[in-house]
């Protein structure tokens, strides 16, 4: 059981997504580059307040070809989307406690990017974010959400 935010956890996510027949069928065939930005909010025991984690996700040919941490915030060149949220929100989604689409609609996850592309590929986006919340194999060494 890989720990949240560990390399193994993201490897598992990549395997989970690439193993989804539904995602393969609906994923955009063109290359799409996005980052997930995890902002420490003082509540998450995994990301200290004031610290941020950045992950790069690359979709190409209907598959996730890259899913890895970045040493710093992406400079935006060649970036299709930026998803930014407090760590607690990402962790509640990963624990299956929050619906990621509703989080996006409420503004708990800030989304920047090509909204026309997002609308055209909404089914694939839904599968992708649902898989993030269905990662039942997560280990929470410092406690699982909801946090007190």
């Amino acid at each position: 059981m890989p720990a949240i935010y560990s390399d193994a956890w993201y490897d598992d996510m990549k395997t989970l997504i690439n193993g989804s027949a539904d995602f393969k069928k609906l994923a955009p065939k063109q290359r799409a580059v996005m980052t997930l930005e995890v902002v420490g909010d003082g509540k998450s025991p995994y990301v200290p307040s004031g610290k941020e984690l950045y992950y790069l996700v690359v979709l190409d040919g209907g598959q996730v070809t890259d899913y890895r941490p970045l040493p710093e915030r992406h400079d935006g060149k060649g970036l299709g989307f930026r998803f930014t949220a407090p760590a607690t929100v990402w962790e509640n989604i990963a624990a299956g406690l929050l619906d990621p689409i509703t989080c996006g609609l409420r503004g708990q996850i800030k989304i920047r990017g090509d909204m026309r592309f997002l609308m055209q590929n909404a089914d694939a986006v839904k599968i992708l974010v649902d898989l993030y919340g269905q990662q039942g194999q997560t280990d929470w060494p410092q406690g699982k959400p909801p946090y007190p």
Binding site: T102, G104, L105, G107, I111, M115, R116, Q120, K126
Partner: protein, 169 residues
């Protein structure tokens, strides 16, 4: 500065952007990008005058009023507040995305209750024009669709001619 034959794009403005809902923020970016997508989209936006309210089925407290004012499109969160006589569209994220991306007909989604629309009869043409403006169309789709329709018509015509010719043999 705008070149010859190209007019100023309508300005898309999100009121109280700092505290806006995610839906308002997404629609703001979407409308800005749609207006920028082509001169035809900009013209379509300029021709729209009126308001429409988009409500999220996922959370009844999320609703955004879009006011089309010709040279300006204004978005504002209205939440559960009364929105007067403005027509409204309520659907989940996927249904709204399917309509705007042209993957589903709004009429089919209304019939299957995935999309709920309220409007006065007189507002119907405006509502259709808004949906047409918001529909993602990269410009390559329409000629391709027209070519496909033309091809089908030619095939039907050929079949009819063959049938008529065989009847007179």
């Amino acid at each position: 500065m705008v070149g010859p034959g190209v007019t100023e794009r309508p300005r898309v403005e999100l009121i109280d952007a700092e505290s806006a809902s995610g839906l308002a923020d997404l629609l703001h970016q979407f409308l800005e990008q749609t207006v920028e997508a082509s001169e035809a989209k900009a013209q379509a936006a300029r021709a729209l005058k009126g308001e429409v309210v988009v409500r999220a089925a996922e959370d009844e407290e999320i609703a955004v009023r879009i006011a089309f004012q010709g040279d300006r499109i204004e978005l504002r969160d209205v939440g559960k507040a009364a929105t007067g006589s403005a027509p409204s569209i309520q659907g989940d994220f996927l249904s709204v995305a399917h309509v705007t991306s042209g993957q589903a007909s709004p009429l089919a989604l209304v019939a299957s209750r995935q999309l709920r629309v309220s409007f006065g009869i007189a507002q119907l043409p405006f509502l259709f024009r808004v949906l047409g403006f918001m529909r993602v169309d990269d410009g390559a789709e329409r000629p391709r669709r027209l070519r496909a329709i033309a091809l089908v018509l030619v095939l039907v015509l050929v079949l009819v001619l063959v049938l008529v010719a065989s009847l007179f043999k």
